[in-house]
Subunit: 201 residues, 2 copies
């Protein structure tokens, strides 16, 4: 049972990958890049430390361009992040050999998040299983599990070496002369997984 | 990490119990009874075959009375089943030693199902984690996993030895002179877990 799991190197997508592995899935981690920066390398490094297979999938730069325009129109990144995530899921789901896709989206997330209609549409259009191991878990449960499983680095948001969509999106906005701080809400601290604290609970 | 898991002996709640166990939780299965029938014994039997701890929790008969009245008013069991499930969750959550509760509700379920607002309210009011291992899984994923894990008996609905809320609810309706077939939708076949096919995937 092979599953292709969208992976940023953060706590949520790492926890989801661990759950899939515990359930017996053969987990292939996928990090999305638009080829603008090499920020995917942080996810690759974390994936290697955790012992997972890892692959970088480069999406069409047009998707990032469209997302940047959405940011500028909305003066907020929500719709853009949602758009990129849906494009990423569809790209993986559309591959011929892919039967199962997965991500680390949570019950309490606003974006990216697929509602029931979009979830079923994705599964039906591409004949895939879309598995979200964290959907039934609240923030307390996720915190308890990640604290036990992972060594985590917490840093100020701007300084953290990350591999999520935001990094390249911010970069493209800067190239267009737009200050990302006018678009993205301020978050003082973010986290990145550095390795296992333990692999079994 | 002990979790109290609402358990009927069916495929869904058995799969959810297996997932919790694989994640390292100490799983205590709980079957609800209103003391009207001994239908809880089927869940106990399945729990024992699967090797889980099992406990029967008797809820106030008033809850079943109220649920029966809802069935008669609505001429449909949805609100009644939802009401019983919420009462069961609250009963377990209100125990002093309980930090984590769980059930086998699915992404595609209509009832019983707690939306985000009710979920958070339950967690906040009782200071518990409410964990739903199947919430992020679609029917294909659940079918694939249960077929690999469990030996399942499929029978006509009326003949199956089950331990869900419906059994005592139907019985109470009959005692009140109401034919349950006028209330419950016809389902030709239902399933019950008989044992492990394998415990690891």
């Amino acid at each position: 049972m092979k599953v292709y799991h969208l992976y940023s190197g953060g706590k949520d997508s790492s926890l989801a990958a661990w759950i899939l592995q515990r359930l017996g899935y053969e987990v292939e981690l996928i990090t999305i890049s638009f080829g603008l920066l090499d920020s995917w390398k942080y996810a690759k490094e974390t994936a290697e430390r955790l012992g997972f297979n890892h692959e970088v999938v480069v999406l069409d730069r047009e998707i990032l361009e469209k997302a940047a325009k959405m940011c500028i129109t909305d003066m907020h990144p929500s719709n853009a992040i949602q758009f990129i995530h849906e494009q990423a899921l569809e790209e993986i789901a559309s591959r011929e050999d892919v039967e199962r896709i997965s991500d680390g989206t949570r019950r309490d997330d606003r974006v990216p998040f697929l509602d029931l209609r979009k979830t079923r549409s994705l599964e039906d259009r591409f004949s895939v299983q879309y598995i979200r191991p964290l959907l039934g878990l609240g923030y307390k449960t996720i915190r308890e599990l990640t604290e036990k499983l992972f060594i985590v680095e917490i840093r100020e948001s701007e300084k953290l070496e990350k591999s999520d969509y935001e990094v390249e999106l911010r970069h493209l906005l800067r190239l267009k002369g737009v200050d990302p701080l006018t678009i993205f809400p301020k978050r003082h601290y973010q986290s990145r997984v550095l390795g296992w604290r333990r692999q079994d609970l």
